[in-house]
């Protein structure tokens, strides 16, 4: 072997090593999870910007990404300003009460709540509380009921017509009825929950019920027959049977139902808040629409994006819960 050939071989192997390391780092940087979503968003923003600049409404130009970002900053600033006001109010109240007590220790002091305008962030918080409350009520009813429906053919056949009839009803149709029933039955001097909160929550619960109920029932009814036979041979008690066989086997279907439920619940809540003027993001959107200032459309668009982000986050949270609960850690969850 000649010397020059040898050196070139060494050189090429060095290049090889560098190239391999380079391609390794490229490969370890997962293109699909990082770059593609980013690209998708950038392309969307571009088209949004182009389209928005061409739409003129009676409330001014349709907001592009820049205006929406600006309004989101303004909304947070407004919230902070409102918080300062509230703090100042409570401070004044405290001082006033302290003075009163100093003059006369037996004086009746009044502690009033600050009743300032509800800011965007307050509305987000209200909506989140409402949807989660409604969702938990619905799940607490739908999962046990679904298990019973899945286990017993008779119960399923009895329930099925009711499920099929009530499932397609828009919960908004229930809203007036719920409002009247809540105000008739929930009579309390010092209510723990606001009536408007209960109205929205029950409306959400009514539409969260069906996907969970149906998916749970289907999941339970389709548990592998051999596994059921094992349980029969062992003569497991009904409770152990549900706990050790039925529940783990139907976890994926139950969670599919829960995710569908929460997604529809969140959608319906916004509509219900708009319709009934119950506090929440829906009311914020409606108020801004009625307000009709030049910033309104941008502020509504902020709400639209936030509603979407929250819906996405809620779905991810349930997915995380499923990962935590599910026995099948290999399953690809989407």
């Amino acid at each position: 072997m000649t010397v020059p050939a040898n050196t070139s071989e060494v050189a090429s192997s060095n290049v090889d090593i560098i190239m391999r390391k380079f391609s390794d780092t490229l490969r370890s940087f997962d293109l699909k999870t990082a770059v593609y979503p980013f690209l998708g968003i950038v392309i969307f923003l571009f088209f949004w910007n182009v389209a928005a600049s061409r739409i003129d409404t009676s409330l001014g130009q349709f907001p592009g990404p820049a205006q929406v970002y600006q309004q989101s900053v303004t909304l947070i600033e407004e919230h902070l300003a409102e918080q300062l006001k509230a703090e100042a109010f409570y401070e004044r109240q405290e001082k006033r009460n302290a003075k009163k007590l100093a003059k006369n220790p037996d004086a009746k002091i009044k502690v009033r709540k600050y009743t300032g305008k509800e800011t965007f962030l307050d509305q987000i918080f209200t909506s989140l509380k409402t949807v989660l409350f409604g969702f938990f009520i619905a799940s607490a009813i739908a999962i046990p009921l679904g298990i019973i429906c899945g286990l017993s053919d008779a119960v399923y056949k009895g329930m099925n017509p009711l499920i099929q009839i009530f499932k397609p009803v828009s919960p908004l149709a229930w809203l007036p009825l719920i409002t009247m029933v809540v105000s008739a039955l929930y009579v309390s001097e010092d209510p723990y929950f606001e009536k408007s909160f209960l109205n929205s929550a029950f409306t959400v619960a009514l539409c969260c019920l069906w996907p969970t109920l149906i998916n749970t029932a289907v999941g339970v009814a389709n548990v592998d027959k051999d596994l059921l036979n094992v349980s029969r041979v062992i003569q497991l008690s009904a409770l152990t049977h549900v706990r050790k066989i039925i529940l783990p086997a139907s976890v994926p279907m139950i969670f599919t139902g829960l995710r569908l439920s929460l997604a529809t619940g969140w959608m319906v809540l916004i509509a219900a808040e708009m319709l009934s003027q119950n506090p929440g993001l829906g009311k914020f959107v409606w108020d801004e629409f009625q307000n009709g200032s030049s910033n309104s459309l941008s502020r509504i668009m902020v709400a639209v994006v936030v509603i979407g982000l929250i819906g996405f986050a809620l779905d991810r949270i349930i997915l995380m819960a499923q990962r935590f609960v599910s026995w099948d850690k290999q399953a690809v969850l989407r």
Partner: protein
């Protein structure tokens, strides 16, 4: 045969269909002694698994019944534990927990927790799976899963162990390995076993008695064959054994020469005539084999 251990007495079963009841089994009648290894063989769809499910209590016989130690049984229970073809392990439980699921129920109040633990471990050791107790079912091979299924069954200390084509889904080498294990364990514990199979070699190798079922509908027991081969049986040596091959030939002849018995009664009359004619020939054959053995 006054005290038969397990008696399948004139069992018939009908399944409701759109075109009226379908008779799957009719007058299935045989009995099993304690400690006996019995195979039920037949073409697929003949209803042999149905027989096993009736013994297990998973299906209810329409006619007749199953009598275990003098008592009729018609509900599933751990005294007739089943090994399923699909292993049927709970995928969310570890190997240990799968076996413990049955043990905790069957020995509730009889064994302490520590005793139960060592009993589960003992049974897993019996099927040589004690090394993988903490593994999940998806982490072990098909043959290993079936071993765990057998351990779960044994751990319930059944009076009869019912095996529904337990080796059907395994490759040939794994199957042979597992057959040897089952024979070993059966000899050691003297368990009564009912094995459903469609594998002629498996039936002859493993059984003391082979129940051959006619084809459905209205399937019934066609022939009974006592397999009188000494144990332990060794597959390689047996493959050259003439008696083994004689039994094998008997089962094969039932399955392939007398198959397709749809209307059993009329077919039986027909085949009886044929049999009589054949018997004269086969009698000569039989004489020869006996003569061979004697020599």
């Amino acid at each position: 045969m006054a005290n038969k251990f397990l008696e399948i007495s004139k069992v018939g079963i009908e399944f409701p269909t759109a075109n009226g009841p379908f008779t799957a089994l009719k007058d299935v009648d045989f009995s099993i002694n304690e400690g006996e290894f019995v195979s039920i063989i037949g073409h697929s769809g003949c209803g042999k698994s149905t027989v096993l499910n009736i013994i297990a209590g998973l299906y209810q016989a329409t006619y007749g019944g199953v009598i275990l130690e003098g008592k009729e049984v018609n509900a599933p229970g751990p005294d007739r534990a089943v090994v399923f073809q699909s292993h049927a392990l709970m995928p969310w439980l570890t190997v240990y927990d799968n076996v413990a699921l049955g043990v905790e129920k069957v020995f509730k109040g009889q064994k302490t927790k520590a005793e139960m633990k060592s009993w589960v471990e003992h049974n897993l050791a019996l099927v040589k799976m004690d090394h993988a107790m903490r593994k999940m079912p998806h982490e072990i091979s098909g043959g290993m899963k079936q071993r765990v299924g057998i351990a779960r069954c044994l751990a319930m200390q059944p009076k009869v162990m019912l095996m529904d084509e337990p080796f059907g889904a395994l490759d040939a080498l794994t199957r042979a390995n597992l057959q040897d294990s089952v024979m070993e364990i059966q000899k050691e514990l003297n368990t009564t076993v009912v094995l459903i199979t469609h594998d002629v070699d498996e039936a002859v190798l493993m059984s003391d008695k082979i129940v051959m079922m006619s084809n459905g509908p209205a399937a019934k027991v066609g022939e009974l064959l006592e397999v009188d081969l000494p144990r332990p049986r060794e597959r390689v040596a047996l493959s050259k054994n003439e008696q083994f091959n004689y039994y094998r030939q008997q089962v094969l002849s039932f399955l392939y020469e007398k198959k397709g018995v749809v209307d059993f009664n009329s077919a039986k009359q027909q085949s009886d005539k044929q049999l009589k004619a054949k018997q004269q020939d086969s009698n000569n054959d039989g004489d020869e084999t006996i003569a061979d053995k004697a020599s």
